[in-house]
């Protein structure tokens, strides 16, 4: 398989962030967005294509996990936290 290109990694990054914003639980939503940003930032200088592919594969699995957990969270959603009305929707 050809190594993942920069464009593919960015697509994956955007897809993960987009999906994470759909978590109905405030704490899961904020954590996912923060963790994804920090993880991609931390690995941005990795050069070894094998390592890059490993990270991309893990990210793809995590994206599927996020999709499933977002869906489950929406099925069992409850009231918002006191803090969610006050703050503007953050990215």
């Amino acid at each position: 398989m050809a190594a993942s290109s920069r464009a593919q990694v960015l697509d994956l990054y955007r897809a993960m962030l987009r999906e994470s914003k759909h978590f109905s639980a405030y704490n899961y939503r904020t954590y996912a967005v923060r963790r994804i940003r920090d993880a991609f930032r931390e690995n941005k200088n990795v050069k070894d294509p094998v390592e890059i592919q490993t990270l991309v594969n893990k990210a793809k699995r995590d994206l599927e996990l996020i999709r499933r957990q977002v869906h489950i969270g929406q099925l069992y959603s409850t009231d918002k936290l006191i803090i969610e009305n006050q703050e503007k929707p953050r990215t």
């Binding site: 899961y28 489950i72 969270g73």
Partner: protein, 406 residues
């Protein structure tokens, strides 16, 4: 506690009254009548009209009591609650084999987090059961001079880290067994049972973003530590803990341990940053605030503060939009001040004014800022109402007062 009986009465009253969303599954914290819920077709014109406000959940700042499930943990557990429901001890079919494989994988994940061998991990129902197994070993000891030292790794009330490696060294040289209850420490600070010479360790699932109802006990094999089983039966878990191992729960515990191992450094950085933010903001805005516990040997996620001249329970009630505690959940039913605070020599009055702030993996900066703002506001308000505070402001030394007996 007055707070809890009032809470229960209010909750019972709401359950009795039919609400506009009575078909929705029963949910916690719905103590106030919902009025402007978009789904409500019936305008609320019942007698409860004046109390109308939307229901919003409090922020969760009590991670020492329990933690939410990490989504990665729930994701690992679900298949074993839906399709892979076999008994891990069934040897004769694929359902049993796949369940057993999951159980052993979880065992490896737990062992890896603490530097142990998987054969040294026995699954239990939680750290309490693990503690009981470890202590019972003392009674089962054959030699008259065998004894056991048991110490918490990280204290759940004030967050102090005990010098485990040093204690382990001493115990090992004196041939004394060393047990530690690592419920609040596993996955949060690096632990290695061999470096720290630990013989027995209790692990709790629901303190590390895993499920409730499961834990583990680490029992050293070399040199062999013998324990007596608390519950007897089919001989599962090497005879040390009979009973069908609950595969979905142990899979959750294993996943929680694996995630903790990967995230330990990142979480520690985040939690330390938020802890410093909380403590600095509060202490810069309020006088007469004491942090309980040694500041140097301290786990950042557990902050116990005493606010002088403010009663702890009244501050907790005032901070109704933040879920907090004034001590350990396991002793919260009693009115006595924390035995931990008393043990570290805290004054009686300061012990009654303590609040424990818990910061975890999912805590946000906004939650900390909100909590700090409300805390400062209410402490100031309560102090304004306090005659003791007034006396202190007038320069009176409270310790010099001779209170009369009635």
């Amino acid at each position: 506690m007055l707070l809890r009986t009032a809470w229960r009465r209010a909750a019972a009253a709401v359950r009795a009254a039919p609400g506009p969303r009575s078909e929705a599954p029963a949910r916690g914290l719905r103590l106030r009548v919902v009025d402007n819920a978009p789904q409500s077709a019936v305008p609320s014109d019942t007698a409860t009209a004046p109390e109308v406000e939307s229901v919003l959940r409090p922020l969760y700042m009590d991670v020492q009591a329990t933690t939410p499930l990490d989504p990665r943990v729930l994701d690992a557990m679900l298949p074993y609650l839906v399709n892979y429901y076999g008994n891990p001890h069934s040897r004769t079919h694929a359902y049993g084999w796949e369940s057993e494989a999951a159980m052993e994988r979880a065992r490896q994940q737990v062992a890896s987090l603490i530097g142990a061998d998987p054969r040294e991990i026995i699954f239990t129902s939680g750290a309490t059961e693990s503690n009981n197994i470890a202590i019972k070993e003392l009674e089962a000891a054959i030699q008259p001079d065998t004894s056991l030292v048991s110490v918490m790794t990280v204290n759940n009330e004030i967050g102090v880290k005990q010098p485990i490696a040093e204690i382990g060294q001493i115990c090992s040289s004196r041939r004394v067994y060393f047990h530690t209850d690592a419920a609040q420490a596993v996955g949060k600070i690096p632990l290695d049972v061999n470096d720290m010479k630990i013989d027995l360790m209790s692990i709790s699932g629901h303190k590390i973003y895993g499920p409730k109802g499961v834990g583990a006990i680490y029992i050293r094999r070399r040199p062999r530590v013998r324990v007596e089983a608390l519950q007897s039966g089919g001989g599962q878990e090497r005879g040390m803990r009979s009973g069908t191992v609950p595969t979905p729960l142990v899979v959750g515990l294993g996943a929680a341990c694996e995630v903790a191992q990967q995230e330990m450094e990142y979480d520690h950085k985040w939690i330390s940053k938020l802890a410093e933010r909380l403590t600095k903001k509060i202490m810069n805005s309020l006088p007469d605030v004491v942090m309980n516990g040694d500041p140097e040997h301290h786990y950042p996620g557990c902050i116990n503060l005493s606010f002088a001249y403010v009663e702890g329970e009244s501050l907790l009630m005032a901070l109704k939009d933040v879920a907090l505690s004034s001590g350990s959940a396991c002793t919260s039913a009693s009115l006595e001040p924390s035995y931990v605070l008393r043990a570290i020599g805290t004054d009686e009055d300061l012990a009654h004014s303590s609040i424990r702030f818990g910061i975890g993996r999912f805590t946000t900066e906004e939650e900390v800022d909100y909590t700090v703002e409300k805390c400062i506001h209410h402490v100031k308000r309560l102090r304004e109402m306090s005659p003791l505070w007034e006396m202190v402001q007038d320069g009176i030394d409270l310790k010099s007062i001779k209170w009369t007996q009635h």
